[in-house]
Amino acid sequence: MNSKLYILLLALFCFAATEAYGQGYTVSGTVTDASTGEALPGTTVAIPALNRGGITDLDGQYSIDLPAGEHQVVVTFIGYQRFSRTITITNSNVTLDIELRLDVVGLDQVVVVGYGEISRREVTGAIASVRGADIQFAPVNSVENAIQGRTAGVFIQQNSGKLGQGIQMRIRGASSVTASNQPLYVIDGVPIVMDNFSISAAATNPLAQFNFNDVESIQVLKDASAAAIYGSRAANGVVLITTRQGRPGRTQFNYSYQQGFSEPTNKVDMMNASEFVNYMYQAAVNGDRFAGSSWRVPEIEWVMDTYSLGTDWRRCLDTQFGGAGLDCPVDTDWQSEAFQDASMFSHDLSASGGNESTRFFVSGHYGDQDGILINDRFQRISARMNLDHKASERVNLGMNLSTGRSFHQRLSTDNAFSTPIQLIALMPISPIYYPEQGSLPNYVPTDVLNDDTFYYNGLLHRDFTKYEVTTMRTTGNFHLGYSIMPDLEWRSEFSADIVTGKDDQWYSPRVARGFATAANGGFASVAWQQTASYTTTHFLSYNAALTQNSNLNTTAGVSYQYNDYNYSFTSGSGFPNDSFQRLTSAANVLAGSTTGSEYSFLSYFARGNYSLLDRYLVSVSGRVDGSSRFGRDNRYGFFPAASVGWILTDEGFAESITDYLTYLKIRTSYGITGNAAISNFGSLGLWGGTSYGGLSGTNPSQIPNPNLTWETTKQFNIGFDYGFFNNRISGEFDYYIKETEDLLLSVQIPSSSGFSTTLRNVGNMENKGWELVVNTINLDGRLSWTSNFNISSNKNTVTNLDGQVITAGLAGLNRAMEGYSIGVFYAPEFFGVDPENGNALFSIYDDEDTCKNFVETTTSYNAATRCVIGNPNPKFVGGLGNTVRYRGFELNVLFQFVYGNDAYIGGHGRWSRGNGIFEDNSMRDQLNSWTPQNTNTNVPEARYIVSNGNQHSSRYISDGSYLRLKNVTLGYELPVNRVRQLGFNKVRLYVTGVNLLTWTNYEGWDPEMNTDFLAGNISQGTDFYTAPQSRTLTFGIDIGF
């Protein structure tokens, strides 16, 4: 077959003509920015027909030798509209000065697609693009943060304000219940290892080592037509990242520095000591009255005596309870102790340049950022070298190499008492430090942290633990191209992506209450992990004009990826003192283990793009994928896709309307993609190792399923690209239906089998939605103002789970249930408070399946009907970006919004709004609880150690919608002539704010959250002492020379 293809391509080649040309004249001129009039150095000026061209110099000037005749001059520069004009050279040199207009639409930009690139005009699939320049130097932690709100159809949510944590990214909704829903990331052709190396329950972000200041462009492949060339891993979409490349010309240096600080976006309102004491005392009185008991009041007095450490809490007890009714001697604001003053800075230095045969880009980055939470810190250092060399007319080669290291001081998961936010649960009458004994019952602090708080005092973790994660990633790609014939090119790529992580932890015996294993002389552990992924890809590309009016562009190749993972872990206890933190000093080695795993993919792919008359576009692609992960009998899958496009406005009949409808392309696609993101040996029946009393044992760990195969997603997409009034208003609209079948489902089975789940291909899920992008040029000229608006809506429905219900999340509240969106919250409905007696009421419905036909209320939690009480999936997400330029000033303002999602406040919601049943400090809004005088309230009566509405219910659902001023950057670029005198090309000063303002009704810290220890496909939208996002302000300078 391959030799046939070769002959076919050879035959096609015979139609292509080569043309000799003579020299004689020049075309020359200056390229400037149409709005500012500034010269544009580095612009590409090309004569495509002759395959020659040049680059403008520092003054924006170019000159090209040409023979006499008609020539099409094409000028392209990133961020500007393509310029094209036909000139005629008769018998003299020609001067052509060119003004480039800012390109809001990106119609003429080259779009990187899998194994190739095409012009946006020819795209027939759904692809969203982000320019690297738009996100450069954004003071955020990773590339996903930086593109939040900038791409239609992409929902990005950071788990919390902790640095370096996992991020959820959903392209057109979740397509799987059990397998990963994260997209495939490909950086410069290398499929990126996305292993999460965290050994705690909270995931870390595998892209955190990547320096996104190097990004040239990001393409998000959303529909099957765009993504199917990545076959069995494309069902969640593909994110293609291309890094910057040098341009011929003088070497350009760029140095950038920024510095700033962060603070939490929000704090919650907790009771002070006096409020707490009286609220709890009243709760004990109420509890005794309700239960007919008499021990609760003495119990709460004993609790207060114990945890106030002998300071006189009765001083602030109301006189009605026998107290003094004065101020408390101790009034600790524990919440403020969870946060720190956070500063950050970064340095970036890059150089790029080259000549006609060799181009390069090198960069280095160093950044150091404190988190808003105590002890949270993230440092990144990285370097990159991109090199392209044309060895001869036929041979080109190059290399992209990046290496990075991140150092991360991590925090405990949200579920640990030691995580800073859980400090809010501590009683405000508990002092931070032990009191001087002599001064009791007044409080004079010592310098010893109080370890006799009701819950563990997480401040001890700040001072007496170490949790350091160092990750190193090296990604390299070597490519070699050979031009067999002018239109036929062979390209081979060899790449490696090697990630090594060290997780180094130490706990002093001082923290034994928060980390029990440390009790015996301290505890330390170290885990080393490495994933090495090797990929080799070879493909042939044939691009040629078949006839004068038609073009065929084909690619076919093969790819093999092998991934090898290794893990080792050692832990020990018994250290002489806190100065010894390495295992060599441990008296007892507690555990030592190593393990590893592998997988491989073998793939064949092909794609053909055909265009007729530049306006009828057809694209067909397919991939055959084989994976080691699946059962022997179901190893290979075929993933085809096809799409067509029609540019109506290029038709003769449309000429009359092109004055206002400048551009209209209709496109549609259909195709199949897969998801293979499950454990490496999911199809086998497995036994794992265990031990008992020093004897080794084995136990069954997985039920076999030899029929296991990938899940498939069939996606239909229809859309159009439009431009009105000479593209002053432009954009695109897409509608899609994604049907996922043969879900790779972790099916719950009766645990009387000895197993709780098994992996099967069962079930269906559907995502339907639309995306709208509107780009406008509001003002053009010296003062320019452009806007980009995107909004998308996705409706996810689990259509078939073979009759079962899958629970996840906090107390199993999140569910995958047939007929509902994935992750809906399921619990009794809180009806409110009985005004007669302050009892919390739940609803009973006649129809238990749909929760319709209300029957009555009940105080019995077990008797209440379980209902769908919320949906964590947003109805709409989007963003609005504005750019205003005037002279050297540029103002960027990006709003981002999420609308229509419910959140569940399961942490402080339930524990600090729990009718005083627990000894936790409560939120101030609980002061509005029911009393005989305050009957019109929905806060149940406070009752110590009596459940009264503290159970999981719709009471703790909160609206998670928000609108956020995501990014504001005001920059000023000094005039070029003044900068020149100083010896620079460019000097830009800027100030950037991130998350400056948030508008929301959410009752927790920040609606952008998903608690880290539970976050998953089903477990979404749960707040469990989840840290707020940070609000950051930075100042920067960017110098080119």
Binding site: H538, L686, W687, T690, Y692, G697, P750, Y861
Partner: protein
């Protein structure tokens, strides 16, 4: 070598453009497949150890079997769970929500033990002609299975003496290993009597085929002691006494001189019949986690309140097995004053000789009465006074049933016997609100976990939880 090959192929492949299907043949490194796991006699014995490992897990004897049932049965004014975890809090309050994850873990791990045992029992043919080894392995597996079933039926079924055990639902009866996941896994609940029948059959077979000594693993006397406990639950005092007698008469065991020697042990001692073996590196001991005071690495979550101390006579050494702390009074049965001892890494006694004396005494006082030699030629006074003597109490001239039961309660408190004793003896308890909960209240039976109800439509929920 294999990795090098893959790496090499990764680099050169494609030049040939040929299919390389074997590149997709990879084997797991940390697990073995079904067919290997049970393929040789040694491998089957290793799988048997896996069963013991599950029995020692924190959802079984490493915690829930003992800790949860005790805080459940104990009157809340004596034993008060004051910790922050809601699951044990609900259980101590005797108001269990059907989604209580501890209670669900009790169920799942018990069946995990049963499935591990069933895997071993299904693979006995690999022993071929080695009949001795085969019968010992079989007997150990049946001991594990019976022990898990006994604990399940006590927690999730009505007591044997409560109504008709032939019709009261117990738990699903499963005697074959799970090899495929299909609809046959939805097994309904067998009756309480059917579960007890299996437990007796398995334990009798275990007793007949186990050796007299088997290291810290189950031996024939361990099976007898467990049988004795099971018969006692069923009210069959003759059999309970006979099996206790068999253990006592073996002469292999002796009471410690000091009762406190039973606790925080790192290896079996003279009084130990069967104990879960924890090691410094591999351990589960939720009793130490929850009961122990903070100075002994515990959470100090369970306060032992004054009314409990009223159960003890003056001078009873067992009344000194407590410590007063700032977080209330704690039991020291799972704690140590010695800061170099981490009680979480110590063994958990499941069966000890004192219990056998107490069972023999109870059988004799019921069957032949005070002052009369009964089973084993011992009088109730012989057994009870031996227990009393070592805790510093004067001997009783005449031992009544009440004396036996009080001695039993004080001796075995916090050792996992209270729930079964309350039910078989028809004694009520009290909840947090000082409400009296009768022994046969619906609230004194665990609910079937909500998760199991959701995935197995053949199950029927216990009354009071719908």
């Amino acid at each position: 070598m294999k990795k090098t090959k893959h790496l090499f192929l990764a680099l050169i492949l494609g030049v040939a453009f040929t299919g390389c299907d074997d590149l997709l043949d990879l084997e797991p490194q940390a697990s073995i497949s079904d067919d290997i796991a049970l393929s040789t006699p040694d491998n089957v014995e290793t799988a048997l150890i896996g069963g013991y490992a599950a029995l020692g897990g924190s959802n079984a004897y490493g915690g829930h079997y003992i800790f949860l049932t005790d805080i459940y049965a104990a009157p809340a004014d004596e034993v008060f769970f004051n910790g922050t975890f809601t699951q044990p809090r609900e259980i101590n309050a005797k108001s269990i929500l059907i989604d209580n994850s501890y209670m669900a873990g009790f169920w799942a791990t018990s069946f995990n033990i049963i499935n591990r045992a069933n895997n071993v029992l299904d693979a006995l043919d690999v022993f071929g002609n080695d009949a001795a080894r085969r019968s010992r392995v079989e007997a150990e597996a049946r001991f594990l299975r019976a022990t898990a079933y006994y604990n399940l039926v006590v927690a999730y079924g009505k007591a044997y003496n409560d109504g008709n055990p032939q019709t009261n639902p117990g738990v699903p009866l499963i005697l074959t290993p799970t090899r495929t996941a299909d609809e046959t896994l939805a097994v309904p609940r067998a009756s309480v009597a059917e579960i007890y029948d299996l437990v007796l059959t398995d334990l009798n077979a275990a007793m007949d085929n186990l050796p007299a000594s088997n290291g810290f693993l189950a031996n024939t006397y361990v099976a007898s002691a467990m049988l004795s406990r099971v018969y006692l639950s069923m009210g069959n005092f003759a059999q309970a006494g006979a099996h206790a007698q068999r253990v006592i008469a073996s002469g292999n065991y002796a009471l410690f001189a000091d009762i406190s020697e039973n606790y925080v042990r790192t290896q079996n001692g003279a009084e130990t019949i069967f104990a879960i073996q924890n090691t410094p590196t591999s351990f589960s001991n939720d009793m130490a986690v929850f009961y122990a005071p903070t100075f002994s690495f515990g959470r100090a979550d369970v306060q032992i309140r004054d009314p409990h101390l009223a159960n003890y006579e003056a001078g009873d050494a067992r009344a000194t097995l407590f410590v007063e702390t700032t977080r209330g009074r704690m039991t020291m049965k799972y704690a140590s004053e010695d800061p170099s001892v981490d009680p979480r890494r110590t063994n958990i006694t499941v069966l000890r000789l004192a219990e056998m004396h107490l069972i023999r005494a109870e059988a004799n006082v019921r069957l032949t009465g005070s002052g009369t030699p009964g089973i084993g030629g011992a009088t109730p006074e012989d057994d009870i006074n031996a227990i009393r003597a070592r805790v510093g109490l004067d001997p009783l001239a005449t031992v009544t049933l009440g004396d036996v039961l009080r001695e039993r309660r004080n001796e075995l408190m916090f050792e996992g016997q209270l729930l079964n004793d309350l039910k078989r003896l028809e004694i009520s308890t009290t909840d947090l609100n000082q409400e009296v909960i009768p022994w046969n209240s619906n609230r004194m039976v665990f609910p079937i976990p909500e998760r199991e109800m959701n995935v197995n439509s053949s199950l029927v929920q216990n009354p009071g939880y719908n």
